[in-house]
């Protein structure tokens, strides 16, 4: 449960970052849907952008969406319709994940947590099981005119283990 509590505290920067990036990129703020908690194994969406987080806070963030939604988002980002979800479309979705996570980590760093991001990895395939081991994830569904975008945040603080001290 403690991990879940920590994870909840880390959700708001990602929600705020999504609002900021979507407003800037698409001229619309997403509509937030109810949160849910996922266990340590996630069944992927059709298109997933996975970003690793390292530093004081460790874990992963996944932007998941259906293929039609990914097509529409990539088309909006590129400014031209996507006929096939190709390398350029993947690159656009990866950059969306980069911008949301970079923006969120900037807000998190204001609390003194220093983190870094791994380059995004795009995973395609709706029945892929992604195991997050000991980190449960919070899912933030966001509704855009292009479709639903799921931000799956599985992060936890790395605790500094202090030696146990007793009064003499």
């Amino acid at each position: 449960m403690e991990n879940e509590n920590v994870s909840v505290k880390l959700i708001n920067p990602f929600v705020a970052a999504s609002y900021s990036v979507c407003s800037m990129m698409f001229g619309q703020a997403p509509e937030r849907q109810p949160l849910s908690v996922m266990p340590q194994s996630i069944t992927s969406h059709q298109v997933n952008a996975v970003v690793g987080v390292t530093g004081n806070i460790k874990g992963h963030v996944i932007l998941g969406m259906s293929l039609p939604t990914a097509d529409r988002i990539a088309s909006a980002m590129i400014g031209a319709p996507i006929k096939v979800f190709d390398h350029l479309a993947s690159s656009a979705i990866a950059e969306l994940a980069n911008m949301v996570c970079g923006n969120a980590l900037l807000q998190i760093s204001e609390n003194g947590d220093i983190c870094d991001l791994t380059p995004p990895t795009i995973i395609r395939g709706s029945k892929v099981q992604i195991s997050t081991l000991a980190i449960p994830a919070i899912v933030v569904p966001l509704k855009l005119s292009m479709g639903e975008l799921y931000i799956i945040v599985g992060l936890r603080h790395e605790k500094a283990v202090a030696p146990l001290q007793r009064a003499a």
Binding site: V21, L88, E95, N98, P119
Partner: protein, 119 residues
């Protein structure tokens, strides 16, 4: 004469977006997808301006900036940065970058920067 701009980013999407902003304004665009390619492309094309991403494979943007400035002190470079890379931007400015733009790019901001630096 048409001004030449070198766009350096490992993300194809970012290169396409920058090209889409610059080409309609009659700038000629050369591309590189990592810092080493940017160093090579700079030597080959002598562009009027370079847009340089920071985080890239093979050679990162800061190393490429310093290498280009060492070899071509007159080079005019603008860093492309994601949110949260302020420290790197400060180091880049100290190393000779003229300006920086933040992703996601705002076309007006990109063009304002280009026109200010090379017209």
């Amino acid at each position: 004469m048409q001004k030449k701009i070198l766009v350096t980013d490992d993300a194809m999407f970012m290169r396409v977006i920058l090209k889409g902003i610059l080409i309609p304004e009659k700038y000629s665009v050369v591309e590189a997808c990592n810092g080493q390619e940017a160093v090579d492309q700079y030597a080959a094309h002598k562009p009027d301006l370079v847009f340089m991403d920071i985080t890239m494979p093979v050679m990162d943007g800061l190393t490429a900036l310093k290498t280009i400035k060492d070899q071509h002190p007159e080079a005019c470079l603008v860093m492309c940065t994601a949110m949260g890379q302020q420290n790197m931007v400060i180091e880049a400015i100290k190393s000779g970058a003229k300006d920086f733009i933040v992703k996601p790019f705002q076309p007006e901001r990109v063009l304002e920067c280009v026109k200010k630096l090379i017209g």
